[in-house]
Symmetry: C2
Subunit: 404 residues, 2 copies
């Protein structure tokens, strides 16, 4: 199930970026499960990765290779190559070496990504056997195939395209993502790959991506878990006719804003496809002292199983939201200053149920598929948003029965 | 549903402590929903309360009155008197004043406790009308009735009794508790009332209770939510022939240990009756640098919906436990030093699946109703335990359908 319907957009080519998918048989289906993305020489590449200490072997290798002018991304679904200790690391390095050998690159120029079942050896032979076909079919036009090839339990392929005008020059962005729980069944993770034809140095690109991911992918939660394999990559080919984007420029501000927009749209698609999700819940915390405080309150609400089951039931059980705000650990919060709204219906003020609040008004909002919870803390000017979904029987079903 | 079966114990009287229950009609059933506990003059009373900033009116009043030599506890189920703003405070104070008037005490000597539906006005008239009958029937032998009267969605009454010998003198403890989610449907909370005939000063009793609650009630989690009404009270009547328990004495150590034992047993009963629980999961984190670190890892595992749904499904999906340890935020954890066990089956060592681990061995443990997850961090000597239960369809059902 997913919240709302989504049509995969028509994506233009991003000059300097080619991709292809093939079926390597890792998933034991006839679906494509291997994706290769190639970036022309001279392009730059940035990435942000899971903070899980038990991160998977490919994450270790990708992080380390990021400093070596990477030009190849090698992505498989169906196997996460996580929790495999040293053999997992050997397998990840081996697949990079094989692709490098095939295309005449250095192994350190290949970044590996894996998503799928944890604790099973990566079928290196199958993967390597499929590489020649993958490489020979590289083209600029395979974004839809790529989005499908990285899916695990996702119910739809996720992609976003955007065109930015900088002083009369077009700068294009294409992005694809997968993930329908913060940890998929067996931690198959969230992955996103974004390409742009902007010309931008690696360090600056890394700074932009870190900021954008912090405001998008790090502001969503399905179940509060953090996977071993999460990664968001952005590749910049430099083929746009726009001048190079440099530090402190107006163009940098516009580029950063556009990248954030692409990341936010991809992040929202992931939540819409949250495991068992029937509702999209946007939590906006304003009048906070700091951004950190706003996020803390937002995530406490978003992680509460009681709040999430109430949304699933369309039950305007506002006491659960109030209780979540109350336990968020905000120092010296003045309850009388806190206001809580469901869409535009005020449910809490002056430390309790709002005057004039009626169950009928609350019910009308809760019956919707997309709901905004607005919390005004009344103590500052910071505002942050967190996106989440509800908690349904299907979440339990998907996660309890995945391997049975 | 509950994990295991439990027979309410035969409880002796605690001299100097009397109780009684009546049906005040707050619950709109014929079940008793009002409990009065009276402590003889000269006794001492200590309490620990929820840290939720939106705590209910009775919690505010009870905390404040704790300094005024309280001798009366007034407990109702069926209505939490939470989220009601100033009228809630007025109602809580009014019920205390009425009981005080009836028994010739000062209002500040009455501590109120409420558990049940949030956001509804406390039916003060019904409660006050029932007070004379409650007071006139006070006796030492009503512990089983008391345990039943404070239940909300609990499926069984919870009580523990213990007798400690101090230098040939008996010191008795009786304890009752309610709670089957950290927040019950509508935040009806966890409450525990413990009585002992020990003679001990209020400050020392408070210190003992805070320590015991920290190691028991604060080490359990059903859904990670913290209610607005949680409270644990201990009353000491001083009628035991044992000498007064004083700071630094051997008797204090024994008393503290016994109080901790009672708290731990009550806490375990709450988890066994966790909403929708089918399994009791004991998480033991050892070889940690500090107690805080051990608790942090334990609670991260205990709060993971993915771990909890895997236990519900009896699925030895060890990758989810490994991922939870990995995201617990432990600074500079060395993965190669971490070991994870399901009962005595080693599932993770050297950063990945343990050599010799078999799915069959994992399955054998997961099929049990009570399971220990042991995590050895390999970096220190601290050890702490966290208790939780699994996450089932019934949890979603109970919490989604409570008000429909």
């Amino acid at each position: 199930m997913a919240v709302g319907s989504f049509n995969f957009p028509t994506m233009p080519n991003i000059q300097g970026v080619k991709l292809n998918t093939v079926c390597a048989g890792i998933k034991q289906t006839v679906k494509d499960d291997l994706l290769v993305i190639a970036l022309d020489e001279g392009g730059t590449c940035a990435g942000v990765f899971t903070r899980n200490a038990f991160c998977a072997a490919p994450v270790h290798v990708a992080k380390s290779n990021l400093a070596h002018n990477p030009r190849w991304l090698l992505v498989n679904s169906g196997n996460a190559n996580a929790g495999m200790g040293r053999p997992g690391m050997r397998d990840a390095l081996e697949t990079c070496a094989q692709l490098a050998h095939l295309v005449g690159a250095k192994p350190a120029q290949v970044l590996p990504f894996s998503t799928g079942v944890i604790g099973q050896p990566l079928p290196v032979d199958k993967l390597v056997s499929a590489l020649p076909a993958a490489v020979s079919g590289l083209s600029g036009g395979h974004w839809d195939k790529a989005a499908r090839a990285i899916m695990t339990t996702d119910t739809f392929a996720k992609g976003v395209t955007h065109c930015l005008d900088i002083d009369g020059h077009s700068v294009h962005f294409n992005g694809i993502a997968k993930g329908s729980g913060m940890i998929q069944p067996d931690m198959a993770t969230m992955l996103a790959f974004i390409a742009t034809d902007a010309k931008i140095g690696q360090n600056l690109l890394q700074t932009c991506l870190a900021a954008a991911a912090g405001q998008s992918f790090n502001r969503i939660t399905v179940d509060g878990d953090t996977s071993t394999n999460d990664a968001v990559m952005v590749m910049a080919s430099g083929y746009s006719s726009a001048p190079e984007i440099t530090a402190g420029s107006q163009a940098l501000a516009r580029f950063s804003e556009a990248l954030l927009g692409v990341c936010k749209q991809l992040a929202e698609l992931i939540v819409r496809d949250g495991e068992g999700a029937t509702k999209l819940i946007r939590i906006v915390v304003s009048e906070a002292l700091t951004d950190e405080e706003a996020v803390q309150v937002g995530k406490t609400i978003a992680h509460s199983p009681l709040v999430k089951t109430a949304f699933f039931a369309s039950d305007p059980n506002w006491g659960r939201i109030l209780a979540a705000v109350g336990r968020a650990g905000i120092h010296k919060m003045v309850l009388d200053d806190v206001q809580i709204f469901l869409d535009d219906v005020c449910i809490v003020n002056h430390g309790g149920r709002a005057d004039g609040y009626t169950e009928a008004a609350g019910q009308q909002v809760m019956d919707k598929a997309e709901i905004t919870v607005a919390v005004k803390l009344g103590r500052g000017a910071a505002c942050q948003e967190v996106l989440t979904c509800d908690f349904s029987y299907d979440y339990v079903k998907i996660n309890a029965e995945y391997r049975t």
